[in-house]
């Protein structure tokens, strides 16, 4: 009788779970029974380079950065979709063709808008 071919994946996943969890559990038991906890303000500090952190980590980013997001979508993400579109262009069904056109149209709209906003001019 041959075992289920997926049995090996189950065994593999089991070992992959036990291998890291066993030392972690042993370390936890060790901490629980031997090592007295010694927390402290500096030990629990978030920043760990020996220098005290200044200010709050929750800084606000200005909303003007959305322009970079739009430019990134147009020139980077769109290019990724354009290549498979161009490769499979000749035998695309009409529905897919229209879908990709809508996608392109949305991004071209963004391009026009960014252009009108002056984003594509070099900073002087």
């Amino acid at each position: 009788m041959t075992p289920n071919p997926y049995l090996f994946i189950v065994i593999f996943a089991g070992i992959a779970l036990v291998f890291p969890l066993l030392p972690l559990g042993l370390a936890w038991l060790w901490r629980r029974f031997f090592q007295p906890p010694k927390p402290g303000a500096q030990k629990n500090a978030i920043y760990e380079c020996g220098v005290e952190s200044i200010g709050d980590a929750h800084v606000q980013f200005q909303s003007q950065y959305y322009l970079y997001a739009i430019i990134f979508l147009i020139f980077d993400v769109e290019a990724i979709f354009l290549v498979p579109f161009a490769v499979a262009f000749t035998n695309l069904p009409v529905g897919a063709f229209i879908a990709i056109l809508v996608f392109l149209l949305l991004l071209i709209e963004g391009l026009v808008w960014a252009w009108a906003k002056g984003c594509l001019n070099w900073a002087k």
Binding site: F34, Q42, A45
Partner: protein, 208 residues
């Protein structure tokens, strides 16, 4: 060595292929062979430390090659070089951020006492003024063999640490602090100039 088992019985068993050990020995064996140092250097001693970690001297033979860039993952702080007063608060803070058990090797004359720059206005006269030091290495700078020797001394110390009883290791005692006060960089000197709970200067006894 464990108190529970007779040494003769132990060696006899070992001859028969049975290895008897105790929890403490197993734990210390694991600890002493995987001492991860904190990766930082302060001055010329750091060059010797780098040489020790490189292939010619190869600290990996002792399990100490994993220099950690984060104090959270480090067991050993090698204070390699001149500690300036500007740098001392950062060193103490890094020491505080290391988890227990943690050890310190004071490498070279500067880290021990200020060395040739002892009279300098901005040189700390020994890192042991603020944090407890386990092994001191003299030299200016100490050769890599000296650092290896200090490393082996530290291994010996770890191997002899007790895990229970009244003589158990310092880091297992709840009353023993894990953090030490960080000195402030003042106008003329560090404030305070030394931590009296840690620093015990040698007493001079003069015969009159």
């Amino acid at each position: 060595m464990s108190e529970q088992i007779d040494e003769n019985l132990r060696s006899e068993l070992q001859r028969q292929g049975v290895w008897v050990t105790s929890m403490q020995e197993l734990y210390n064996w694991g600890r002493k062979n995987s001492i991860w140092p904190l990766q930082f250097g302060l001055a010329c001693c750091a060059i010797e430390m780098i040489a020790t970690a490189a292939s010619r001297y190869d600290i990996a033979r002792f399990g100490g090659e994993i220099f950690r860039p984060s104090p959270r993952q480090a067991d050993l702080m090698i204070v390699a070089g001149t500690v300036t007063k500007k740098m001392a608060p950062q060193i103490v803070r890094l020491y505080n951020q290391m988890p227990d058990p943690k050890y310190v090797i004071s490498m070279g004359a500067c880290a021990i006492s200020g060395g040739p720059f002892k009279q300098g206005y901005n040189v700390l006269k020994g890192i042991d003024r603020y944090i407890p030091v386990d092994v001191y290495i003299p030299g200016c700078p100490p050769r890599p063999e000296a650092l290896l020797h200090a490393f082996m001394e530290l291994q010996r110390k770890i191997d002899n640490q007790k895990l229970s009883g009244s003589e158990k290791a310092e880091f297992l005692k709840p009353e023993q602090p894990s953090e030490f006060p960080v000195p402030a960089f003042g106008d003329h000197d560090l404030n305070p100039p030394a931590n009296p709970k840690v620093y015990h200067p040698p007493k001079l006894e003069r015969q009159s």
